[in-house]
């Protein structure tokens, strides 16, 4: 049986696990940690949600959660993955956004919302993205796709440094 005190501790441990691809963010910062609840077998059940359908980091997140919780004394841990409701960058916490910017990754703006048919976008989007190095908003898109599924590549016209931008999803 997991006591309320143990459960609160398990939540703290799980929330502090770092994202394998952006190791300045915790799973809680990223908004992928959905729940930590008592499991039927007396252990702990952790629920996470993938950022993208093909996110290759899920297996590592699962392993890191099991490992960190085991180190904190939780021997029976199950990690399950849920798809619904689908993850959105709007779930990245304020703290997470600040950490991203400090790490050199421009945080996402508000995610687009649609109902009904999705409108076609024939020109690359032109959001105002602030350079995480010098703070200028005079930045340009280099590529909508970057080193991981969640990031675009941009360049600052002011300080001329390239940087990554966490795409709105």
């Amino acid at each position: 049986m997991v006591t309320a005190v143990d459960l609160a501790r398990a939540r703290r441990v799980a929330a502090a696990v770092l994202d394998p691809e952006l190791p300045v963010l915790t799973l809680a910062d990223l908004g992928v940690l959905r729940a930590v609840v008592p499991d039927a077998d007396g252990g702990v059940l952790v629920t996470i949600t993938p950022t993208y359908s093909g996110c290759p980091a899920m297996d590592t997140m699962r392993a890191d959660l099991v490992s960190d919780l085991a180190a904190a004394g939780f021997d029976r841990v199950r990690v399950r993955t849920v798809l619904s409701p689908a993850w959105t960058t709007d779930w990245i916490t304020e703290d997470g956004r600040r950490k991203l910017a400090e790490y050199g990754v421009a945080p996402p703006g508000p995610a687009p919302r649609h109902s009904g048919p999705v409108p076609l976008t024939l020109a690359p989007p032109t959001p105002t993205v602030r350079c995480p190095h010098c703070g200028s908003t005079d930045t340009e898109l280099l590529s909508q796709f970057g080193a991981t599924a969640c990031k675009a590549l941009r360049r600052c016209r002011s300080c001329v440094e390239p940087f990554e931008h966490f795409k709105e999803l």
């Binding site: 590592t60 849920v82 076609l120 909508q144 599924a149």
Partner: protein, 308 residues
């Protein structure tokens, strides 16, 4: 269970199967009600999931062939990213297919192989139900070029997005969740292809020529996309699936918008016939598909006991 290194839990003495080619999802959607809804035939639901999963797996394999061959490094990354999203969709759909009807799992797959991998690696050509548009060789290599690849991606992503927007309302909560997730991804797949179509069609004389030729080359396989298979009709009837003929108007509207901006005409090319009317959804494929499957499957089939 305790590990000095987190990654040890991926290896060695635990209850995970360590087949070399994939880890499988233990319970990808366990928070969703996984029971098959009343009025939906499990065998049909499984076959429908295979159709949509095969479309994604095969399209992903074709896109991945471009990695290191695209016109610029950013495009290698873009096409690989899109392929990864589609592969993720295929995994979820395969897992659902095997869950609702275990008989879809090919009997030659060794028992330790996860369902999703058994379906990807151990089925033969006739068992695949993808539309033929997904499988044709659009390059790299002499069969096509980047413009033809973009033309295929534009049509494929526009069609799949129109289907998935509707599928997000499926009475099957698992399919609905997969579709809602997929809509976000397919939106930028379609936009990426549309933006390239405009850039090539409205670019130099040579890029415009190639864009027109690429679209003409894939066009014979476009009508098949919206021709419903009996399984699709039955699934649409019970509210679990989408009748693809219902997306014709939306698909045409999107493509016409892109073609107008790109300054290219809609191709006027007749449809490729099936074999006695049978096409990809019936397991009838083009010559190119056997070669694609051989490359996709031969390592797993040659070393089915490999573990790591």
């Amino acid at each position: 269970m305790s590990f000095d290194n987190a990654y040890e839990s991926l290896l060695g003495d635990n209850d995970e199967t360590h087949w070399a080619y994939g880890t499988g999802f233990a319970d990808p959607l366990s928070d969703v009600d996984r029971a098959v809804p009343a009025g939906v035939a499990p065998a049909d639901l499984a076959r429908y999931c295979l159709m949509l999963g095969d479309d994604a797996l095969v399209a992903a394999q074709r896109l991945a062939e471009w990695c290191s061959w695209a016109p610029e490094l950013e495009e290698d990354v873009a096409l690989a990213n899109i392929a990864l999203d589609l592969l993720g969709q295929a995994r979820l759909l395969y897992a659902r297919a095997a869950e609702v009807d275990p008989s879809v799992r090919p009997s030659i797959a060794p028992a330790h192989v996860p369902d999703e991998d058994a379906l990807a690696y151990f089925r033969d050509e006739l068992d695949f139900r993808n539309v033929r548009l997904a499988e044709i060789d659009t390059g790299p290599g002499p069969a096509g070029d980047f413009a033809m690849t973009i033309g295929r991606l534009l049509v494929f992503a526009s069609w799949r997005l129109a289907l998935f927007v509707r599928l997000a309302d499926s009475v099957d909560p698992v399919l609905a969740a997969i579709a809602a997730k997929g809509v976000k991804e397919l939106t930028y797949h379609r936009d990426h292809a549309a933006q390239w179509t405009v850039r090539l069609g409205d670019g130099t004389a040579e890029s415009a020529r190639r864009m027109r030729a690429g679209l003409a080359a894939i066009w014979p396989l476009v009508p098949e996309l919206c021709r419903p298979h009996p399984v699709e009709l039955r699934l649409a009837e019970c509210g679990a699936g989408v009748d693809p003929s219902a997306v014709v108007t939306e698909l045409d509207g999107v493509l016409d918008q892109v073609f107008a901006a790109a300054g290219v005409a809609r191709p006027d090319v007749p449809a490729m016939a099936g074999v006695s009317g049978r096409t990809g959804r019936d397991g009838v494929h083009t010559t190119a598909f056997g070669y694609l499957l051989a490359e996709l499957q031969h390592i797993a089939r040659s070393h089915p006991e490999a573990v790591w």
